[in-house]
């Protein structure tokens, strides 16, 4: 493949990048969603036109292009419908937006991140999240999983930390 070309540093500009202050804000219905996260609950929006349940919330149904204002509870147990697995990620190997994810503490040294689509029971859409407490070779489409919540949720998206295999949970309880 192409050799990395040596690039001369021509100009360096120092400054801040206030990425949290973008004018485009999260939709107001995220407040509703996060209030439920604080109680370790998942909700979806039900389209009364076609019966689709979207998780997380959405206020317009793409299928029938009408407004949705009905909310329904959704199980926190679901099925894996798609997955991908990262290679072992080590310090100094990958940079995201110029940040080393291992150095920043987002990933552990040598971790293989398992990323999954989950269709929670009662929902029609897929939620993309992390599969925890499982080995890469265990993941498969059709695997039953359960939501893993933070011990003390704060009403943030990160309260839902990921999902883990249901079977394992049954053994420990």
């Amino acid at each position: 493949m192409a050799k990395e070309e040596k690039r001369k540093e021509t100009l360096t500009v120092e400054g801040d990048w206030p990425i949290g202050s973008y004018v485009y804000k999260a939709p107001p219905l995220y407040k509703e969603l996060l209030a439920c996260y604080k109680e370790k609950k998942l909700i979806g929006s039900l389209c009364t036109g076609c019966g689709m349940v979207y998780v997380p919330l959405r206020n317009i149904c793409g299928r029938c292009w009408r407004k949705i204002d009905t909310r329904v509870g959704v199980s926190d147990i679901g099925t894996v419908t798609g997955f991908t697995i990262s290679p072992e990620i080590r310090k100094g190997e990958v940079k995201v937006m110029g940040i080393d994810p291992v150095e920043a503490g987002w990933l552990e040294e040598g971790e293989r991140l398992i990323m999954v689509y989950v269709k929670f029971d009662g929902a029609n859409s897929n939620y993309t999240t992390i599969l925890m407490n499982a080995k890469p070779e265990e993941v498969h489409i059709g695997m039953r999983v359960r939501a893993v919540w933070k011990d003390e949720p704060e009403g943030k998206l990160s309260d839902l930390q990921g999902v883990e295999p249901v079977k394992q949970l049954q053994h420990t309880t």
Binding site: G62, T84, L107, Y117, K156
Partner: protein, 418 residues
């Protein structure tokens, strides 16, 4: 009712790392070659359509200032951007303009120059299309680990495609070894195409799977050797009315075209939520194919299509889209691959040019599919010309996230009038 339209000229630059030209010079090269190939003069061109993947080049936005580098002064110029489908959309725009009777000869150009930014595509392109969808969630307390899942660990299209590959493997029963086979076929076909980027003569599936670097998984089930390069390049076609095309030696007639979008298969805003249909289903491609074939009068695409140029930056997509273009039964494309049917000398060659897997200058990629189909019909594909009489060829493009599809059917005779 529309007028008959044909592709009468094709021009491509060498794709790869083009440090010898700037964006405008590169576009100019493709435009000149297309005009020369059509045996026209610049003044014969009535209008121009151009496009690239907005923001991915990272610098210049050449289509905004370089009109005089490709003969546009005094002429109508349209810029189109639909993501990966851009080149296909630009070609279709030119076809609309001639079919409608508005113009007789239109030049359509697709281009991309990745190497001008330090991390091709990623720095500006992804910051532009991807990260803005993450930043606003910071106030909702999104955590970085989950956001990796949205990007599939390796970012954007490659990330979405990794899930798509796993889904296709699950429903069709194919394995990673079949992805190696597609990648090897693509690389070795590219070696026969002078304009292609990653050329690897006689590449075998084992070469990919056992290679110390390309054999490694970037995001399971995709290996590094399964991923398209970020190329520099431009390609152009001349689209002309029947009156002009009749004087050409062997024009490639446009027999049908369609575009279709299906947002239900993709992760939506915030990269999650709406994927109601799994992204390997690609129903919109089937809809577009059915429409384009009906327009072209093709009843049995399995028998009537002689060659296909599919937009496949990742190998499983060649399999998915060849099924969705109705060239193989659902979930059976990998069997045809195993039997060698899709090789250059096979029953139904797919991507004899090497395809997008070997050359991906995004704005140029879907344009090259149309251009390559035209070359096969004209008999001008050179070393990668398929060894048979090409009557019908289908050119495909996908873009957006995984939601847009364009399909253009070219043939050796004009479209039947009904």
């Amino acid at each position: 009712m529309w007028r008959n339209v044909a592709v009468i000229g094709v021009g491509q630059t060498k794709h790869g790392r083009r440090r010898d030209v700037n964006v405008a010079e590169m576009i100019s090269e493709a435009a000149w070659r297309a005009i020369e190939d059509a045996e026209l003069a610049p003044e014969d061109i009535d209008a121009i359509a151009i496009g690239n993947m907005q923001g991915f080049g990272g610098v210049c936005q050449a289509e905004l200032w370089s009109g005089d580098m490709f003969g546009a002064p005094g002429k109508p110029l349209l810029r189109i951007a639909t993501g990966g489908t851009t080149g296909g959309s630009v070609a279709q725009c030119a076809i609309y303009q001639v079919a409608s009777g508005l113009f007789d000869v239109v030049l359509a150009i697709g281009f991309e120059k990745h190497s001008d930014s330090k991390e091709p595509g990623a720095t500006m392109g992804l910051a532009h299309v991807g990260l803005a969808n993450l930043f606003h969630l910071l106030e909702c307390g999104v955590d970085m680990r989950t956001s990796f899942a949205w990007g599939g660990g390796v970012g954007a299209a490659a990330g979405v495609s990794a899930y798509q590959a796993a889904n296709y493997m699950h429903r069709s029963g194919c394995g990673v070894e079949h992805l190696d086979m597609v990648a090897a076929k693509s690389r070795s076909n590219a070696a026969k195409n002078e304009y292609a980027h990653l050329q690897w003569p006689n590449c075998t599936p084992d070469d990919i799977a056992n290679h110390p670097r390309y054999g490694k998984f970037a995001a399971y089930p995709l290996r590094f050797g399964h991923i398209c390069p970020a190329s520099d390049g431009a390609s152009a076609i001349i689209v002309a009315s029947e009156e002009f095309a009749r004087s050409a030696e062997r024009p490639a007639w446009v027999r049908g075209l369609a575009a279709c979008a299906d947002e239900e298969n993709q992760m939506a805003e915030n990269a999650q939520g709406v994927a109601v249909v799994d992204s390997s289903e690609q129903i919109q491609c089937k809809v577009a194919a059915l429409k384009a074939y009906r327009m072209a009068g093709i009843k049995n695409p399995k028998k009537e299509i002689d060659v296909a140029e599919i937009y496949q930056p990742f190998p499983h997509q060649e399999l998915i889209y060849s099924e969705r273009l109705l060239l193989f039964d659902d979930g059976k494309a990998w069997i045809a691959l195993e039997e060698g049917e899709t090789q250059i000398d096979g029953r139904l060659p797919i991507d004899p040019s090497g395809g997008v897997l070997s050359t991906n200058a995004i704005g140029s990629s879907a344009m090259q599919r149309v251009a390559e189909c035209a070359l096969q019909i004209m008999g001008k594909a050179g070393e990668h010309q398929v060894p048979k009489d090409v009557k019908n060829a289908v050119a495909h493009g996908w873009g957006g996230s995984t939601n847009f599809t364009v399909v253009t059917v070219l043939g050796d005779t004009p479209r039947l009038r009904r």
